[in-house]
């Protein structure tokens, strides 16, 4: 006899686990394939678990009242060797290397010593296909076969486009059939072509998102900056203040703007900082070069010129690319908080939220004074730097903004 695991099924798209309400059978009972044997409750409904095949109830490891994640082993069905063979459960799928060996040496007994049943009692999670355990090494929800990849390449799609498709294949893998149905379903909607700008941004963001991006934030008081701006002849915008402050901070220590390539950090060659400009259906990032070397007032004309060119989508080739960090002023949309994603070739993006007047406690006078405050955010590639280093950089930028005469 062989022990076939009874597995907590996928009970719904967003269900990760379920609680055992009632176990309707006990060891030794004869059961049928479609028979409900264990009642489980999710936050949506009470449902029944059916065994993977007909047989005799073996040990039930699940305990009433306990929660188990999808794929957990709840117990075992005992089936004959013949039935197990028919279901393909007689021999564990050998590791690829061992498989090769068995092919070549042939004489190895395929059924020996590789029992598929996990040890009773272990609530190990098993990927499933048609309710039966499948080799985890061979498949998985993220596995894309050469055929799938070729079909997607043919249509110009990316793996991220499959995120919305529930796979029906081995271990939740999206099959060609799933994929074609998904495509067919799209035809029932209004479909418009995405602009080339949209596609370019999508591509950049998708590449960027392959990294672990984290964010830190700090509120800054903008009153000194606003006062400084009022007196300035050239009226630099808040984003340019932030850009210049970031440039100075990175000139002092450029390590946070380094890029991780393999096991090496690539340090910036010069302090060139980009800034996000919203253009039609996308974002452009023109660059100011050597911002550590030019005082704020000297940057204003070039900045304004680049903003205008970007809006007209007439940026010359040398006005983009090669920047080591980006500044984005999401406050212009009235937003106070955001976690922007750095460009794929960058480690940092500094964000500036909308200023608003808030009460600040004035300890000397013993009263609240109005102050203009905005959030300063820094999203970073967590592979390159940690919260501490990101925080120190952000604090330095905030200090500079609080002392705009240093810019």
């Amino acid at each position: 006899m062989r022990q076939i695991p009874i597995i907590m099924p996928q009970l719904g798209e967003s269900i990760a686990e379920a609680t055992i309400v009632n176990i309707a059978v006990s060891k030794g009972d004869a059961i049928d394939c479609g028979q409900g044997i264990i009642e489980v409750e999710t936050n949506k409904a009470v449902m029944e678990v059916t065994p993977p095949c007909a047989g005799t109830v073996g040990e039930i490891t699940a305990v009433e009242g306990q929660s188990y994640s999808v794929g957990s082993v709840l117990g075992y069905v005992e089936v004959t060797e013949e039935e197990a063979e028919r279901l393909g459960l007689a021999a564990a799928p050998p590791a690829p290397a061992a498989d090769h060996l068995a092919d070549e040496q042939g004489a190895i007994d395929e059924t020996s010593g590789r029992a598929n049943s996990p040890r009773p009692g272990s609530a190990q999670v098993q990927p499933t296909v048609r309710g039966l355990p499948v080799p985890a090494h061979a498949s998985g929800a993220s596995y894309m076969s050469p055929r799938m990849k070729a079909r997607m390449a043919e249509l110009g799609l990316h793996a991220a486009d499959l995120a919305g498709v529930a796979g029906s294949g081995a271990a939740g893998r999206v099959t060609i059939d799933d994929f074609e149905k998904f495509l067919e379903g799209l035809e029932h909607h209004r479909v418009t072509p995405a602009s080339s700008m949209r596609v370019a941004v999508a591509d950049a963001m998708r590449r960027s998102w392959t990294r672990p991006i984290a964010a830190v934030a700090k509120p800054v008081v903008l009153d000194p900056l606003l006062a400084h701006r009022k007196q300035a002849a050239s009226k630099p915008g808040p984003a340019l203040y932030a850009l210049r402050a970031l440039g100075i901070a990175l000139a002092e220590n450029s390590a946070p703007a380094g890029r991780l390539v393999g096991d090496r950090i690539v340090h910036p060659a010069s302090i060139d900082v980009g800034f996000a400009v919203e253009a039609e259906d996308g974002v452009l990032v023109p660059v100011l070069r050597n911002v550590d070397a030019s005082p704020l007032a000297a940057l204003v004309d070039r900045y304004n010129e680049l903003v205008e060119l970007a809006r007209q989508r007439r940026l010359p080739g040398n006005a983009t690319g090669g920047s080591i960090a980006t500044v984005t002023n999401f406050g212009t949309f009235g937003l106070t908080w955001a976690t922007p994603i750095p460009l794929p070739e960058q480690t940092l993006v500094l964000g500036l939220g909308a200023g608003k007047i808030v009460p600040h406690w004035n300890a000397e006078a013993g009263r609240f004074d109005p102050a203009t405050e905005a959030n300063l955010t820094l999203s970073f590639d967590h592979r390159v730097l940690d919260g501490g280093a990101a925080g120190r950089l952000l604090v330095r930028v905030a200090d500079l903004l609080a002392n705009p005469e240093q810019l």
Partner: protein, 320 residues
């Protein structure tokens, strides 16, 4: 009803009747009618054209090449495919290269009673098709049906190149058809022996019947297995294989020969190279075990692929 073996005899009778240049040469093919009776009564029906040979495969094939150069179309019977190794030099160095060296064709047909039967042991069970297919200049036929045994042997005699005709001994008496065919697919064209959409199983010779039995078994489990019969392994009909894999996305290749290299490896290599973008799972192959062929029937039964082991491999492939 006509058996696979009788079809081979009938094809030879027709070839002798149709063309005065055809003659049969081999050990005990004359009055005795051949070790398996594949030339039964032919010596009597065609006097002087069905000749007993000495026990020297080297001499048999060598003399046939000479006769072919002089315009004859000899059919040679090796008693067992295994023994053709004794005449190997004549086949691969002389017959296979003759036309390419001299522009003189070498229309010889070498019949190899091939493959295993229960209790035949290591020297009377071998599958040599992969070995001969390695050599340019040879055609290698591996008929799996009574109809193909008949029509392909007739075609072999008509082809101007040397043909290695691998007839499977397991099919000699087991396999029967109602009548001889009147038409056939051209040489080098594979046949879809059973259509299906879930997995392609490519095979040839006696393994076709194990694969068809397996397909029937899996049909009960709602799997639709497509079975491709290669018919000839050289030329190999890559187009039909790729077209089938394009429909199913999965490939299993089954052969009775040993696993090192050979026909199954060739098919997998071609599909991996030319049809990678068609695959939903790694292409797999199933062969006999990599040991000499055992004598004992029980051991022999586990040495070669069977419907059961093919079913297991197919199910695994379907789960990937």
């Amino acid at each position: 009803m006509i058996t696979y073996l009788e079809a081979i005899r009938e094809a030879q009778a027709k070839a002798l009747a149709d063309n005065p240049h055809v003659y049969i040469y081999g050990q005990d093919v004359g009055a005795f009618g051949g070790a398996f009776k594949a030339t039964k009564n032919l010596a009597r029906e065609f006097p002087g054209r069905v000749l007993d040979a000495p026990i020297s495969e080297d001499a048999i094939i060598g003399s046939a090449i000479g006769a072919a150069i002089e315009g004859m179309r000899p059919i040679i019977e090796m008693q067992y495919a295994d023994f053709s190794t004794v005449g190997f030099n004549q086949v691969v160095n002389h017959a296979a290269t003759l036309f390419w060296r001299t522009e003189v064709p070498c229309p010889i047909t070498i019949r190899l009673p091939s493959g295993g039967t229960s209790g035949s042991g290591p020297f009377h069970s071998q599958s040599m098709e992969g070995l001969y297919a390695t050599y340019p200049g040879l055609i290698v036929m591996t008929p799996a049906t009574v109809e193909d045994a008949y029509s392909m042997l007739l075609e072999a005699v008509n082809i101007d190149d040397p043909v290695i005709f691998c007839e499977h001994k397991y099919l000699y008496y087991h396999l029967k058809a109602d009548c001889l065919p009147t038409e056939a697919l051209p040489v080098g064209k594979a046949r879809i022996a059973r259509t299906g959409r879930d997995v392609t199983v490519v095979t040839y010779s006696a393994m076709l019947h194990e694969c068809l039995a397996m397909a029937e078994e899996l049909a009960a489990e709602k799997y639709e297995v497509e079975v491709v019969d290669l018919r000839s392994i050289k030329p190999l009909d890559t187009d039909t294989i790729l077209a089938s894999v394009a429909r199913t996305g999965r490939l299993l290749v089954v052969g009775e020969a040993w696993p090192w290299g050979g026909v199954t490896a060739e098919v997998v290599a071609r599909v991996a190279a030319e049809g990678f973008a068609l695959l939903d799972a790694p292409p797999r192959r199933l062969n006999a075990k990599d040991t000499p062929i055992p004598y004992h029937p029980n051991l022999w039964g586990t040495h070669r692929p069977t419907a059961q082991t093919i079913a297991r491999a197919t199910r695994e492939l379907l789960r990937l």
